[in-house]
Point group: C2
Chain length 323, copies 2
C-alpha cells in the first residue's frame, strides 16, 4: 500500500504546469512575487484528488494535468487572499506573500492568479465545464470567506463588520459556511477529474458526493486539531486567538456550557486581544464539555453519511448546483 | 451636435446588464456590497467607447451590450482594488466600497466582480476574442498598478516597497506605466466594439490605435488637471499628497528644476506626511518651470500623433499584443 506521501507526490507534479501558466506575460520584477506562494510548498491535496478522480473514472494521467493545476491554483489564490484578510504572516514556517512583499503586492499577485486561471481554463478539456466549475467554486469560496469573517467576534475595526457580526452560530450555519469555504473546492477538485475523463453523469455525481463529504470532514478535523490537537506543529487554539466562532468544537462547547461558562467563553472570543491566559481558560472551558467527543463523531459521520441513508440532511451536497 | 452628456448617456444603459450578471448567485446579504460600486455613479466612458466603436464599424447596438458591460466592469473592478491599495475614502463624493463596508468586504466584492466578468465573457459574441482581450487587459492593469505603486516616494510601510521604489522616473517609464494603467483598458474598450461588430482586421487595428492614443491623452490630461486644474471639484495636487512620482507634470518639472529645487520637491514627495504648506511649496516649484506648457503639448501630441508620421515612438501601441 502506498503511503500518504507517495500518493500526494502525484499532486506535486502539477507545479510546473501551474508555474508555466502563472508566469505568462509577467514582468520579470513581478515574477518572484507571483511564484512565491506556489514555491513555498503545500501538500497539493486538491491536485491529487483531481488526478486520482480522473484515473479512477477511466481517464489518462495527461487528461488531468490542467484541471488539477486549476483547482490547486484556486486554492493558492484563496490562500493569498485569506492571508491578506487574516493578516497571516507565516504558512508552513515560510513568510506569506503579504508578509514578504506587502499587502498591496499580494493583492496584485492574487489578481494575476485569477487571470492565469482563465488562461488554464481555456486550455482545459472540456473547457466549458471546467470554466463554469472554476467560476462557481470561486464564488462559493468568496461567500464562505465572507461568512467566516462575520462569524468572528472581534478584531476588525470596521463599523460594517461590527454591525453585521453573527453573535450566534448554529451547527447548520457552520455547515453552510464550511461547505462554501472548504468543501466546495474539494468537491470541485474531484468533479474536475470526472470532467477530464469524460465520465458518465452517474460517476460525476458519485465524485461530487465523495468530494463534498471529505471536504466537510477535512474542515471538521481541522477545527478539531486546532482546539484539541497536540502535535500538529501549529499553535493550539489559533481560532480562539482569531476570535472565530466558526469552529465546530467551540460551537458544541457553547451549546453545552452553563450561562456563566458561555459568557466567559464569548467574552474571551470577543475581547480585543486574547491573552495566553485567556486562551488557556477558553481551552479549559471547552475541555470541560463533551465537545471533543461530539466533534470527533461529527467528523466520522460526515465521512460516512451516505446519500442513501439520509441519516442527516446536514451532509447533503447542493447537488443541483452543477449539472 | 450631441453634447458630451448625451453621448455618455449611451454608456449608462449598460448598468442593468452589469447588475444582472453581478448579482447572479450572490447571497442577499452580500448584494448591497456588490452593487455599491456600480450604483455610486461614474461616467461610463469605457462602455460608451465600446458601443460607439461597434456602431461605427457597422455593428448593431445589441451586439455591443455585453462587451460594453465587460470593459466598464473591468474598470469598476480596478477602482475597488485601487481604493483598497490607495486607502481611498470617497469617489464622486460617495464613500468607496472599502470605506463603507471595510477593506475585507471590498476585497471579496472585487473577487466577485472577476467571476461576473467570466460569466459575461461566456455570454459575449465572439466569446473567445472578448475573453482573451479581458484577460490581457486585466494583466496590463495589474502591472500598471504595480508600477504606479513603486513610483510613489513614501507612504507604504513595507520593506519590500521601500527597497524597490523607483527614485527616478523617465518620460519613457511614465509612458509605459500609463499605457498599462490607463490606455490598455481604453484601447480594449474600443477594440471590443470592433470584435462585437465583427469588423475587418484593418478596422480593428484602427480602433486599437485610436483607443491607445486617447487612453494616453486621458491620463496625461488627468495628471495636468491634478497639478494645474482650477475648477475640477477634486483637490489640487492629490498626486503630490499621495507621494506619486508617476505624474508627467511632476516629471517635467523635476527635469527642469535646479539641484536645490529638485531636492526640495523630492523631499516633499518622499516625506511621511505632506502638509498643506508642503503642497503649496511643491505646486509653486512646479509652476516656476515650463511644466504646464510641456504637459499640455504632450497631451496634444499624444492625441494627434499618427501611426504614419512616426513623430514619436513613445505613442506607439504595442500592436503585436492582440492579433
Amino acid at each position: 500500500m502506498e503511503s500518504i506521501d507517495q500518493i500526494l507526490s502525484i499532486g506535486r507534479k502539477v507545479d510546473p504546469v501551474i508555474l508555466d501558466f502563472l508566469t505568462r506575460k509577467v514582468d520579470p520584477a513581478f515574477a518572484p512575487i507571483i511564484k512565491h506562494q506556489i514555491e513555498s510548498g503545500g501538500k497539493r491535496v486538491r491536485a491529487t484528488l483531481t488526478i486520482l478522480s480522473c484515473m479512477a473514472t477511466g481517464g489518462e494521467l495527461t487528461d488531468a494535468w490542467i484541471p488539477a493545476g486549476i483547482f490547486e491554483l484556486v486554492h493558492n489564490y484563496s490562500l493569498i487572499i485569506d492571508d491578506i484578510i487574516d493578516r497571516g504572516e507565516f504558512r508552513r514556517r515560510v513568510p506569506t506573500v503579504r508578509k514578504k512583499f506587502s499587502d498591496d503586492m499580494a493583492l496584485l499577485a492574487a489578481m494575476f492568479y485569477r487571470e492565469a486561471l482563465d488562461e488554464m481554463a481555456e486550455a482545459a478539456n472540456p473547457a466549458e465545464d471546467i470554466r463554469r466549475l472554476t467560476r462557481e467554486t470561486v464564488k462559493e469560496l468568496i461567500e464562505g470567506e465572507r461568512r467566516d469573517v462575520l462569524f468572528e467576534q472581534s478584531g476588525r475595526e470596521s463599523p460594517y463588520i461590527e454591525k453585521y457580526r453573527a453573535t450566534h452560530v448554529s451547527v447548520e450555519d457552520y455547515m453552510s459556511m464550511i461547505g462554501k469555504k472548504t468543501a466546495a473546492l474539494i468537491k470541485a477538485s474531484c468533479m474536475a477529474g470526472g470532467y477530464a475523463s469524460k465520465t458518465s453523469p452517474k460517476m460525476l455525481s458519485a465524485l461530487e458526493n465523495f468530494g463534498w463529504k471529505i471536504g466537510l470532514a477535512f474542515q471538521v478535523i481541522d477545527d478539531y486539531l486546532d482546539i484539541f490537537g497536540e502535535e500538529t506543529g501549529k499553535e493550539r487554539g489559533k481560532d480562539i486567538v482569531e476570535h472565530k466562532l466558526g469552529n465546530i468544537a467551540i460551537i458544541y462547547a457553547l451549546n453545552e456550557l452553563d450561562e456563566e461558562g458561555k459568557r466567559t467563553l464569548m467574552n474571551i472570543l470577543s475581547s480585543i486581544k486574547v491573552s495566553s491566559e485567556d486562551l488557556r481558560q477558553a481551552l479549559a472551558l471547552i475541555e470541560r464539555t463533551d465537545s471533543k467527543n461530539q466533534t470527533f463523531s461529527f467528523f466520522l459521520s460526515s465521512v460516512m453519511a451516505s446519500t442513501e441513508s439520509k441519516k442527516s440532511s446536514l451532509f447533503e451536497s447542493p447537488l443541483s448546483k452543477f449539472p
